[in-house]
Symmetry: C2
DNA sequence: ATGAAAGCGCTAACAC
DNA sequence: GTGTTAGCGCTTTCAT
């Protein structure tokens, strides 16, 4: 490829020549490894600046060094949820001179494994996986090569996995309790993808809150969603069409709550007068929906930030595997919930 | 780095041994280059599958081949605007087996050049630059090495640059004309970053529409913003505090319009009864704002998709430099504009 | 403290 | 049609 080879690329060798040292010495000062006489180091540094040297990441990585890139595996980058998480990731990466290689799986599991294997072959120094769908498929191989990875918003296969999650069960419990305390008894639930622990935990929290308040769990009131808006819309329709419809709905994320809101509007139901609604996540649009959505805030930016910091620490000291973290959720009471009208 | 070197990585050499051929032959079949006897090809393919071979991208790229990654340079990934553009990018990349290396500059120009140089040194096969801020600083060097790049939503330094943009001037003209036709005469304008052509063109469109309708351009009515929400909020305040405030405001993007909307609400102004508002972009929240925002739709997904397709085409045939494209904008009339009340 | 040399996995001439 | 060979730019022993 002619367009990739140019004489203008200055390498470690040019710097060595300019500084009058061998190129292994240049490598040493670049990497701050072993000792280099301060005077020599200075000379090399000068030469680097003079020539505008920039390391070639692939060569470095090929030769066994750090690539200074981390892999980021997500389902879909174009959501506010990911936007928030990425903000946290970007924050810390920016201060550590690391870049990100982005992989979007669109929930196709085969892609998930393929990408992980590709990254782990050296392209990246570590991996950040948001909401992995099938971690079982590749976590063993990551462990086998001691490849650093941190799971975000999903636990892995066992306690050896390093993850950053939020208190989903508690959040589900709190959301439901909030509704119960307002006086609701028939509370509909729209779940997320049931293969994700976050979705399962939020549902369990819902059930536990009901039970703790002496309200029987009615399976009719639980409809399976998939975290996408349309499933919130459809789930709400299903719930409303029940012989005895709920007076409140708890959607497992804000996006589905938004879908539910659309259906309520179509059916001319006032929120919260006619029906209450609570979401989960507190993505930016939650506050601007009409009415502003009561939701369970999940500290997404912080989750991204923390996970990245943990990963970077782990990369820089492979012996110090970080411990998993669970961050608290928080009920944000806005205007989509109130006393039931009856 | 012990964790990066593992015996389980199988290389082109293992495949060669397994298939009983030299490893350049393996390289040939992997890259579909020159002729390989069908029978040999078959044998190699079998071996690859049996061993689960996966190419090492850095080695490939170091040796002069394609890295199969494109670099994506953006200010900030966590906006709906970028979410939409990325959706288009991701769409086409997914079908072409390409990955993306993501760089966020947060509008720091020095980073912009540094990143571009880094990518152009071989890490990527091509570059997608969204709203470059200082293309002059590095475009020369990209051209010098015939490195493929496509600019999104910003033209470059001259007609040699390949870019995908929208009809910003026309959009500004249409937005303003819409307001004029509704009967507005004093129309406030909140601009974007003035170092971006899109911001300048939208402003020029605004001025032209005014002139064409015999309305003098009042400098007082033009306030400089920066495409961020807070500047929309502040710009709206400035406009409202004028001795003769406008009856309508045209913000150069939806995010600033959202900021303006917040200020209007604080001042108890009804939109559109008391004041009309039009934005630009038509990001997803435009439709859910209260009231739903009249705006100029820019085909963001399509822009991302097209730019990526152009880049990939260019990469695969370096002789065929694609031509720049300008996509049409479209007025989306929602509920934030109406006749002036007077 | 620094230089020499091997090799990371691959592509691309160049042979045959 | 296929094998041989020389790097790509760097890190890392191993010498000195």
């Amino acid at each position: 490829m002619a367009h990739k080879k140019t004489l203008t690329d200055i390498t470690i060798i040019d710097v060595a020549r300019e500084a009058g040292v061998s190129y292994s010495t240049v490598s040493r000062v670049v990497n701050n490894k072993s000792y280099v006489k301060p005077e020599t180091r200075e000379r090399v540094t000068q030469a680097m600046h003079r020539l505008g040297y920039q390391a070639n990441l692939q060569a470095r990585s090929l030769a066994g060094g750090h690539s200074h890139v981390i892999g980021l595996l997500v389902h879909n980058m174009s959501t506010q949820y990911m936007g928030e998480i990425f903000r946290g990731i970007d924050d810390v990466l920016a201060t550590h001179n690391y870049e990100v290689m982005l992989y979007t799986t669109h929930r196709r599991r085969t892609k998930e494994s393929a990408y992980v294997n590709m990254m782990a072959r050296g392209l990246a120094d570590g991996l950040l996986i948001v909401l992995p769908r099938q971690p079982e498929a590749y976590i063993e191989s990551l462990r086998a090569r001691d490849f650093p990875y941190v799971l975000i918003d999903q636990v892995g296969i066992d306690e050896h996995d390093v993850s950053v999650t939020a208190t989903n069960f508690q959040g589900g419990y709190d959301a439901t309790t909030h509704l119960i305390e307002l006086g609701h008894r028939r509370i509909g639930k729209i779940t997320g993808w049931m293969d994700m622990v976050s979705a399962r935990d939020r549902l369990e929290g819902y059930k536990a809150a009901l039970s703790d308040h002496g309200i029987p769990v009615d399976p009719e009131l639980i409809v399976i969603g998939d975290f996408e808006k349309i499933s919130g819309y459809q789930g709400a329709a299903t719930l409303l069409d029940l012989a005895a419809p709920p007076t409140a709905v708890f959607a497992s994320n804000d996006v589905m709550a938004q879908g539910a809101l659309e259906l309520f509007r179509e059916r001319s139901l006032q929120v919260p007068q006619d029906i209450s609604l609570v979401g989960f996540d507190d993505i930016p649009i939650a506050a601007i929906l009409n009415p502003p959505l009561t939701t369970l805030r999940q500290p997404m930016v912080e989750m991204g930030r923390l996970a990245t910091q943990m990963l970077l620490d782990w990369i820089s000291d492979p012996e110090q595997k970080p411990a998993s973290v669970i961050l608290p959720t928080e009920l944000i009471h806005r205007e989509s919930t109130s006393l039931p009208q009856s």
